[in-house]
Amino acid sequence: MSSAVMVGLLAAGGTYLVLQRGIVRTALGFVLLGHAATTLLIAAGGVGTRGVPFAGGGADAADPLPQAFALTAIVISFGITAFLLALAFRSRDVNGSDDLEDDR
């Protein structure tokens, strides 16, 4: 239940920020949305069992697969966040701000 609430809050905040005009805000929004997705991945593996997921870890061993998924997703979203921030910098250089121009 608590993970569902957390996913909901993160997704709501992320959606609000992604709809903003500035690239930095959009990047922050995607950070929140990425956290929502990784939290959901972890929850998908079940949050009841939290033991060490090694061979012979016992009955409460956690499912290792969602943890691997989440780790991969975090690395990817980290890289893309860095790219978005670089894009925001470039936007400041050529436009003077990181706001997107109007559609023509």
Binding site: I23, F30, A36, L40, A43, A44, L65, A73, I76
Partner: protein, 491 residues
């Protein structure tokens, strides 16, 4: 065989890394790109030959036991997509080398990374690995799109990255929901679970929305025509051959293994296909530059590619795959012509152009042949594809979908005539854009020759279609009855 399935993406990955180290040596980067892509083409053709008996095989990465290993699955559809994609990538890189667009030290490595992601998407049999493949492909495309770093590129980059990142996040959420419901991300495992479990189907639907956005299906198409035109021209041609087509491939794969028995899927797919065709072509007719018309057309053509998903008869799928394969070549040739016009004349806006048929006759022919193929005029390959597709629609009883496809063809012809009138006939306007220093004779010949060769190939493919039709028919057999593929990739 199994090592070839790994080599088609691992080789380019290594070549990309090596290319970064060689960033001061463009000649070495070029040699590396050409060599690796030629090897990938050879490997893909070998895979086609090995799977043309409707067989499928799988590879467990790292030799882990089933259930732990990431599974790759290859059948003839994967092999055909690998072949056409690698050929068009090679042509795009050759064009970029001739036009000087590969001047940026990261151009060649990025194309290699882009291909790595696309090839992995074509061979993977695992939903999470598919997410990773899409990300590898997209991150390379983010950088390629914004490589020129101007105002337009920043704006297009923000739209492109924003849309695709949102789609990727939704894709990831879909994968999480499916894993939560079924406990597996293997295609075969999910396929078995979706038939019984409504929760898994809900997760799959979330995932489908994301794939539809990546394939630019209406109403999730708005990003494509706004962004592709701002990439450098040869990059647009490479994107067109790879990115949305990876999305279309995934749709075919998921429909074959998981979605075909879902109630209502066929109706929705046909309706969406028809709307995508119409909206795309109307946008294209309203365009004002060669590339803006051609990129909007990509949306319309995705409609033709999605239509067989709703019909799902053997004839329709075979027509769809034939159409997909020839369309990748046709659209690549058209965009390369537009790129050549842009490089040689300084602009691809129709208002700045005119009379090219007199000054550059062969470039005009290089545009005309694939343009006729796109509109579906005999004896081009586009005619064969459209004819088979429309016939399959009528046979399946979808009369209005078939009629829409024919009507959209006429509008496609109209938009091609618009380009031909604006750029190749008439007089060159007085206020011509400033042209860059003219490239050498050899470079010009390469830039005109590449699309011309593809244009001639579409005629050859139209008259001698039977060979490719046989392969497309085999692929349709494998998709209609995916038992061989599912057995190969299941635990």
């Amino acid at each position: 065989m199994s090592s070839l399935a790994v080599a088609v993406f691992a080789g380019p990955l290594a070549a990309g890394a090596l290319g970064v180290l060689l960033h001061r040596h463009r000649a070495a980067q070029r040699a590396l790109s050409f060599g690796v892509l030629a090897a990938v083409i050879a490997a893909s053709v070998a895979l086609v030959a090995g799977t043309s008996d409707a067989s499928a095989f799988s590879v467990d990465i790292g030799g882990f036991p089933r259930g732990l290993a990431i599974v790759l699955g290859v059948d003839i559809l994967s092999a055909l997509m690998l072949t056409i994609g690698s050929v068009m990538t090679l042509l795009g890189v050759a064009f970029a080398a001739a036009s000087g667009e590969d001047a940026h030290p990261l151009f060649h490595p990025l194309v290699m990374f882009l291909w790595t992601g696309v090839a992995l998407a074509f061979v993977t049999a695992d939903l999470f690995n598919l997410f990773v493949a899409f990300e590898v492909m997209l991150i390379a495309s983010y950088v390629l799109l914004t490589l020129r770093g101007g105002r337009e590129q920043v704006r297009a980059g923000a739209i492109y990255v924003g849309t695709n990142l949102l789609a990727s996040t939704i894709f990831l959420i879909g994968v999480g929901l499916i894993y939560g419901a079924t406990g597996t991300v293997n295609f075969a495992g999910v396929a078995a679970a979706v038939a019984e479990d409504r929760a898994a189907l809900a997760g799959l639907t979330v995932l489908l929305v994301a794939v539809a956005a990546k394939a630019s299906i209406v109403p999730l198409h708005g990003w494509l025509p706004r962004t592709y035109v701002h990439a450098s021209p040869a990059v647009t041609a490479i994107f067109s051959a790879l990115l949305t087509k990876a999305g279309v491939y995934v749709l075919y794969r998921l429909t074959s293994t998981m979605l075909v028995d879902v109630d209502g899927f066929a109706t929705v797919a046909i309706a969406i296909a028809a709307v995508t065709m119409v909206v795309g072509v109307l946008g294209a007719v309203g365009g004002h530059g060669m590339r803006s018309i051609l990129t909007f057309h990509m949306v319309s053509q995705v409609g033709y590619l999605v239509l067989p998903l709703g019909l799902w008869t053997r004839a329709a799928i075979a027509a769809g795959i034939f159409y997909l394969l020839q369309y990748v070549a046709v659209k690549g040739a058209l965009l390369l012509t537009a790129a050549a016009v842009d490089r040689l004349e300084g602009s691809d806006e129709l208002a700045d152009l005119g009379g090219l048929m007199r000054s550059r006759f062969w470039l005009g022919i290089a545009f005309l042949l694939p343009a006729l193929a796109l509109a579906g005029i005999p004896p081009t390959s586009g005619f064969v594809g459209k004819f088979l597709l429309v016939r399959a629609a009528f046979e399946a009883g979808s009369f209005w979908a078939g009629a829409t496809a024919i009507a959209v063809s006429l509008l496609t012809l109209l938009s091609m005539i618009k380009i031909f009138n604006g750029a190749f006939w008439g007089e060159r306007p007085d206020v011509a854009p400033p042209t860059r220093p003219a490239p050498s004779m050899l470079r010009t010949r390469v830039m005109v020759g590449l699309p011309l060769a593809v244009g001639v190939a579409t005629i050859v493919l139209g008259i001698g279609a039977s060979g490719l039709l046989t392969l497309a028919g085999t692929a349709a057999d494998v998709l209609v009855d995916p038992t061989a593929y599912l057995t190969a990739v299941s635990r």
